[in-house]
Amino acid sequence: MEKKAENRREFIRKSGRLTLGLAIGGLGVLAASRATAGEWVWQIDPFKCNQCGRCATECVLNPSAVKCIHAFDLCGYCDLCGGYLKPDANERSTAAENQLCPTSAIERKFIEEPYFEYVINEELCIGCAKCVKGCTSFGNGSLHLQIMHHICVNCNECSIARVCPSDAIKRVKASEAYQVKGSWSKPL
């Protein structure tokens, strides 16, 4: 009986130590992950992106935290925008059947003959990259994708990065959270 009591006491002591250890360890891991999350965020390298469409389908959020953004200083303000119009568009107009974007998230605004400005409506954009592909193929590549940090929940493992075929998504410093073409250039 004495041995059993000793074993019970020993078991309780060990359990206590283990619980304390796990609690401290857990707090440490939590603190470390929060510190990491605060300093590093996920972002897309626009020069690596191959417009596969997975940003729209693989993000844990719906619609995705990935949105198209527009580098206006690179844009040609073309009437015949390859990112806005379908390749076989009937005419260069805002008619839905002529638009490439599946959600009509790009607004085409007349500036002066023959120039037009293209503005992304972030609420409508689903990050599918269809316009990015059109702009990259036939235009200057001024339309490109970025992870928007006021929407992104900064998962420990980004579900898009996990399946990105061009390895374009990586962690970057939160102080340099965006890699916008024009102001941010492709590293040599």
Partner: protein, 319 residues
């Protein structure tokens, strides 16, 4: 019942194998992507009726440049730019001469007396043997020289930065410039959304300039008055699509246009009237979404194309 354990083991093994196969089949790992529901595809426009292709590739020369930049043809010789070098190559592909340059070139023109090389915003002239004659002053900080053409001892420069054609004497004195406005009241002339802005003279001395934002080729008098133009805007084989096409062009000896496009990369021929004639090289010949090849032609109507993606000169001869 002796084999009961083995049977259970085999059933479990089968289930595991099936689960692995199904799991792999439905996996979304990076190298195993399913259909992209948002795919932007121009595949149907890459298919070309074989009857329209009236040239075949007969030869190609691999270039040693990291970044090929431009090409000119003059009397059985190819003048090829890349990195910080000019190479003179015979039309059979033998290197005849190499000249080191002090900067990264963008464009070239050659006549009986001069080799003229454009850099980002200035020009240098060389003798036909490759000795530097003169380095011109900068044309301006906003200049982006994209194409050169010589006629009657005058140099015509396509400047994508200024969106103008500049006319100079061969010793660097500016004569005039024009911006392609068809009338004084027009707001804009040349629409140049990117660094693709080409010009060339045909054998009759007519100056033609691409207006890439209009998908048009425009003929100007030497003082900059528009004389005529033709336009072909379509993603189909007989037209130009995207923002900056045709990105490059040259002339055949009979005055036909040889055009080269980016995006949907293809080389085609249009009659002197602007009517589509035939295809030199279909998109399947080139890297998807590659750069527009720069094209020159020889006295026999053969076409040399610089394939910037494959880093080679490709020769296409009429079938």
């Amino acid at each position: 019942m002796k084999n009961k354990g083995i049977v259970i083991f085999l059933i479990l093994l089968t289930i595991v194998v099936v689960v692995i196969i199904v799991g792999d089949f439905t996996s979304t790992r990076p190298d195993k992507q399913g259909e992209n529901p948002y795919e932007f595809s121009v595949d149907e426009y890459t298919k070309v009726d074989p009857d329209l292709i009236q040239y075949k590739e007969t030869k190609n020369f691999r270039l040693v440049f990291e970044n090929p930049e431009g090409i000119a043809y003059y009397k059985q010789k190819l003048y090829v730019l890349g990195d910080q070098r000019l190479q003179v190559i015979s039309n059979s592909g033998n290197l005849l001469k190499e000249i080191e340059l002090n900067d990264f070139p963008t464009s070239i023109a050659v006549d009986s007396t001069y080799i003229i090389i454009g850099f980002n915003n200035y020009i240098s002239t060389y003798s036909i043997n490759g000795e530097l004659i003169k380095k011109w002053d900068s044309l301006g900080e906003n200049s982006v020289i994209t194409s050169l053409a010589v006629w009657n001892n005058e140099l015509f420069i396509a400047d994508a930065g200024l969106r103008k054609v500049l006319r100079y004497t061969m010793d660097g004195q500016k004569i005039s410039d024009f911006e392609g406005k068809h009338e004084e009241a027009a707001l804009h002339g040349f629409i140049v959304p990117s660094g693709y802005f080409d010009l060339a003279f045909n054998t009759y001395g007519d100056l033609w300039v691409v207006n890439p934002g209009n998908h048009s080729l425009e003929n100007y008098s030497l003082d900059g008055s528009m004389r005529e133009f033709w336009q072909a805007s379509s993603v189909q084989i007989d037209g130009f699509s995207g923002c900056c096409n045709p990105a490059q062009f040259t002339f055949l000896p009979d005055g036909s246009f040889v055009t080269s496009e980016k995006g949907l990369v293809r080389i085609k021929i249009y009659k002197p009237s602007g009517e589509f004639k035939c295809v030199v090289a279909a998109p399947e010949k080139f890297t998807d979404e590659g750069y527009a090849p720069e094209v020159v032609s020889d006295e026999n109507g053969n076409i040399y194309a610089v394939d910037f993606n494959k880093k080679m000169i490709r020769l296409f001869e009429p079938v």
